[in-house]
């Protein structure tokens, strides 16, 4: 029982990482109707910016806020500079551009900050709760919940959040009612980059900072978003925790899996969920007209 509880809590802690990233994935999906494969690398890059600021002596929370602002501006800039000109290109071409961005960010981070693994500070006190779960993990858990609340309110109660949803769901009609669809896309990119930055800064104290830190985690983030339902921020967070817990329990209790096949578990999980609930556990089913 002790082991079981321990594994659940470790799963929750890992799940918080995935949930954080899944939120950013959902955000960009709400805004542009695509996955952004460069999301993880953008978050990693933001985290490095924060690390540099802390390294020159700026207090943590100031650096934290500045990073969010810079990431937001960076996200908007990427949309305006790179994606606006190819707005009408086929979807597959967009994905190639995502891949190009991923390569650029990964390589640039390696060139600027070199490839050695760096320790990233945590804003929360050291220590743990009953030796079961670290205080940083608990802090991260609450940060994720606060983010979730903020996103929910943004989409539900603000004019601009509603406008953004409209722009993603039906760009033509949105344009007709006076929404500036182009800028909504840019805003979505900015917000997704900002949320990604928060995720990166929360994850970095656990997995340490290096240019490849996000490659594995992003897959879990996608899995979490899919399992929970890509249209639902709450579902994405629940999906993140679920993926974290299942991955840990399967690794512990099914001897054939162990630690070497953990990723395979994520694969099986995605495919199984999608088979039975193609829109995820909490997602809305979307009806289209022929």
């Amino acid at each position: 029982m002790e082991l079981f509880l321990q594994q659940i809590l470790t799963g929750l802690a890992n799940g918080a990482i995935y949930a954080c990233l899944a939120l950013a994935v959902v955000m960009i999906y709400q805004a542009i109707d695509h996955f952004n494969f460069a999301q993880g690398e953008m978050a990693m890059f933001s985290t490095y910016i924060c690390w540099s600021m802390i390294a020159v002596g700026i207090p943590y929370w100031v650096a934290f806020l500045l990073t969010i602002v810079i990431s937001f501006a960076g996200g908007v800039a990427i949309e305006r500079i790179i994606f606006k000109p190819i707005h009408n290109a086929p979807v597959l071409s967009h994905i190639v551009v995502f891949i190009g961005l991923l390569a650029i960010f990964n390589s640039l981070a390696g060139a600027i900050w070199d490839h050695t693994i760096k320790v990233f500070p945590s804003p929360f006190p050291d220590g743990s709760f009953n030796g079961l779960i670290g205080l940083h993990e608990i802090g991260m858990f609450f940060v994720t919940l606060i983010l979730l609340g903020a996103i929910f309110c943004f989409f539900r109660f603000t004019r601009i959040g509603m406008a953004m949803q409209a722009a993603a769901a039906n760009p033509d009609s949105a344009e007709l009612v006076g929404i500036r669809v182009g800028w909504m896309l840019a805003l979505g990119w900015g917000l997704a980059a900002a949320i990604g930055a928060v995720a990166g800064m929360m994850i970095a104290p656990i997995v340490f900072l290096d240019p490849n830190m996000m490659l594995g985690i992003l897959l879990y983030g996608f899995a979490a978003a899919i399992v929970g339902g890509i249209t639902s921020p709450g579902g994405a967070v629940a999906g993140g925790f679920l993926v974290g817990i299942i991955e840990n329990l399967a690794g512990t209790y099914i001897p054939a899996i162990g630690s070497e096949l953990k990723l395979t578990v994520a694969l099986v999980l995605i495919v199984t969920v999608l088979l039975f609930k193609p829109n995820g556990l909490f997602g809305k089913s979307i009806v289209t007209r022929v």
Binding site: A89, L92, V96, L219, L261
Partner: protein, 335 residues
Amino acid sequence: MTTDVETKVDPRLTSGARINVKWVAVFVILGVLFPFFIDGYTSFQMTLTIIYAIAILGLNLLTGFNGQFSLGHSAFYAIGAYTAAILVYHLDFPVYVTIPIGGVVCFVAGFLFGLPALRLNGLYLALATFALAVAVPQILKSSHLEGLTGGVQGLDIFRPDVPEVLVNTFAMTMDQWWYLISFGIMLLLFWAAWNLINSRSGRAMMAIRDNPIAAQSMGINTSLYKSLTFGVSAFYTGIAGALAAIVIEFVAPDSFTFQLSILLFIGLVVGGTGSIWGAIFGGLFILMVPNIAEEVSTGLSYAVFGVILILVIYVMPSGIVGLVDILKVRLKKKL
């Protein structure tokens, strides 16, 4: 009752598509003579280009002609390669026989993966296949399969020698011989793909891509065609994988990471989705451009590669074939 309006139908529309024999003949002759004018390393590189082109064509059948995304084709490439390697290494199969077997094994694997994939579309499918691509190297490395796959170390295999006659008459080297074999297989597979696309089945595949619901209401069995296309696509990629294993004489899990899937995908888009001969350009692109990027700057090679990619999409959003089509139209207007 007969219709009173006589419609004149353009005979080109009813006679079906024709292969442009002139150009194909030029291509084949140049392709066959090519290895005799270049050094061994270049012909090895060209062999790899051909292998990539085959794999990209497989991906194109699925994505370009049937509208199903896949970022998991490195998995099928790996299955093809390992099938060939295991048959040669453990069971002493003749090397040439393993190539079609690799393809057939992949066909089955692809068909089976295509069944659950039926329920997914667009980016969901891209993600599920991406997960497949990430999982396969892990499974290959897994200690449970180590006896079969050689684990992290992989397997070494050896190619048979060039037939005696060819060595005596043409002084043919190993690289040239395998270039020619790959070239022949590529021609065969391209011809088969061309026939498939211009058949009833090909039209069904494209109808499903353009509007699945309309296709279904016209009596096309969409589930069957979609999973069959998955199988055929995997077949092509599996043949490419088997060829690669033999040409490189070595297989290891780390040659088949998801990066390979992404490279194939880039080759597909850059070459041109929905075009058969675009695959050759795609193959050239993914073989040459990373090397060029490496030469420009070793430390920032990925960044250079990324910039090149983005620029390529800017200049030709629908790939090289799309660019050629636009240029053709412009040229015709001028004349």
